[in-house]
Amino acid sequence: MSITDWFKARESKRYTETSTDRTKAATDVPDGVWQKCPSCKAIVYQGELDANFQVCGKCSHHFDIPGPARIALLVDEGSFEETDAHLRSADPLKWQAGKSYADALERARDKTGLDEAALTGRATIGGHPVVIGAMDFRFIGASMGSVVGEKVTRAFELGLAERRAVVLAIASGGARMQEGMLSLMQMAKTSAAAQRFAEAGLPYISILTNPTLGGVTASFATLADIILAEPGALVGFTGPRVIEQTIRQSLPKGFQTSEFLLEHGMVDEVVPRDELAERVRLLLDYVTAGGER
């Protein structure tokens, strides 16, 4: 083996798993008693997944979970009180290219029982009052249009008004194409709200889950004081397929995973799902209570 081949081989082993197919795998998890793990291909019993935070017992692959389940996983039981639940996207551009946006919204509402891709509300975590938010990838890829942008902005404003910490569990394909520039401007709007919140000296913790991409990564998701990521999550600005098409070369193994980001200094910690709630509680102890224990 030449030294360059050795480097190539080493490069390909640097990260734990390949990222390119994970967004697809994420979207077609079947409902049923048995599930096939998209990572190790093992057939796993749904009851076992339910008991294990939707994490594969064989390979620790973290299955995507819906927004409401994500919130239940993080907050003190029974403490969640949803805010702005019924904000609904308009169809400002009357989008018809490809599929009609109005139809896509209708289908997403039917499928998820949610009005939009983001859920927000008041809750407590280990007794700490917080504003909690989660995004649901089943709802048009948890993309950010006017409503997601508005709910995230209001979450920061509520946190500011009531001096609560903000904890957001993020998943998103990026800004929502079908609302055009109105979606792009939500990046600026949510970032402005996060900035005001930060200037008031209040803590914001974000949790990046699979996948977090595009305009959401490039706005409020990464403006947190502490950024956590779930193992193996795909996180980046440009999606891997677009990068591959642009640079016409295949991507190194494990590119844009949480572990890759940790190695490049972009996230504070990679935390397995079963430890997340406890980790967030501990961090809140540090950032809300001052130095004296």
Binding site: A97, S146, Q186, G215, F220, F237, I247
Partner: protein
């Protein structure tokens, strides 16, 4: 450009006829006149009814005036400031100081090149994370020394590549958005060409957004949008209209404040009056914002962003 072809053909015919000695062909004089009239009509027809996709093509015209041209034409005593102090100096972003009339400002802009060589150095106007970080450094400098910011937008988008991801492209853009939103000095953004996605937004919003008539500003390039939603980048011309990305669309959406008309056929046809029109628009905007208190400016900018979005 494809849609200009019938016009160019007619113009060539007309030029040919004019080269003939009219004295030798007195019968042609009337015909020349008729043809000239036809050219004028077609000219107006082509350029006054441009489709969104045609405007996108004009915004990318290789001869279109670029950030460097506007800076050279509008500003005196220009000083370029280099580097992000962390990794490198991204030539896809211009950062510096300049004086417009009597107003000293901090300058930002995406830089496309004139030649292929220059374009390769500047990555065709697509910044890396270090470019955005250089811009942010200079934004903070503007805030510290109470200088307004004038920013010229002309990028297809932030660079999509391995190194960009490794160095936190998304993180760099997000920090710019947060920083821009809270600056205590006036920020005037000018869309001069392409306004592609987060890469444009990272230096591209403020207290005023001035758009040149054929500039566009969009959630993504029409090609990327077509590729994502229709799985076919060649359908860009179809989605360009849906995206509501033209200067006038943006005013209607409440995102841009003003459209600066371009010379017929685009800014490249007659750059001098274009420079003057942009200078006037920027001066006017700076004049309106000039007397305001920093806190009031930041508050108004927040409210401006706060209003954007449609829902029930």
């Amino acid at each position: 450009m494809e849609f200009e072809r019938p016009l160019v053909e007619l113009e060539e015919k007309l030029a040919e006829l004019r080269r003939l000695d009219v004295a030798e062909h007195p019968d042609l004089a009337a015909e020349i006149e008729a043809l000239a009239a036809e050219v004028a009509t077609l000219h107006a027809e082509v350029y006054q009814n441009l489709t969104p996709w045609q405007r996108v093509q004009i915004s990318r015209h290789p001869d279109r005036p670029k950030t460097d041209d506007y800076i050279a034409a509008l500003f005196d005593d220009v000083v370029q400031l280099h580097g992000d102090r962390t990794f490198g100096d991204d030539e896809a972003i211009f950062a510096g100081l300049g004086t417009l009339g009597t107003q000293r400002v901090v300058l930002l802009g995406h830089r496309k090149g004139r030649s292929t060589k220059e374009n390769i150095r500047r990555n065709f106007g697509s910044p890396q994370a270090e470019g955005f970080r250089k811009a942010r450094r200079v934004m903070q400098l503007a805030d510290k020394f109470r200088l307004p910011i004038v920013s010229f937008l002309d990028t297809p988008g932030a660079h999509p590549g391995i190194e960009a991801e490794e160095r936190g492209q998304a993180w760099a853009i997000a920090e710019n958005l947060a920083t821009l939103s809270a600056l205590r000095v006036p920020v005037v953004a000018v869309g001069i060409g392409e306004g592609g996605s987060g890469g444009a937004l990272a230096i591209g919003f403020g207290d005023r957004l001035i758009m040149l008539e054929n500039a566009y500003y969009s959630i993504s390039t029409p090609e990327a949008c077509a590729s994502i939603l229709l799985k076919d980048a060649s359908k860009a011309c179809d989605v360009a209209g849906c995206l509501k990305l033209t200067a006038r669309d943006l005013v209607e959406l409440g995102i841009a404040d003003e459209v600066v008309p371009e010379p017929l056929g685009g800014a490249h046809r007659d750059p001098q009056p274009m420079f003057e029109a942009v200078a006037n628009a920027v001066s006017r905007a700076l004049g309106q914002l000039g007397g305001r208190d920093g806190e009031a400016l930041a508050e108004a900018r927040y409210e401006r962003l706060r209003r954007i979005g449609e829902y029930s």
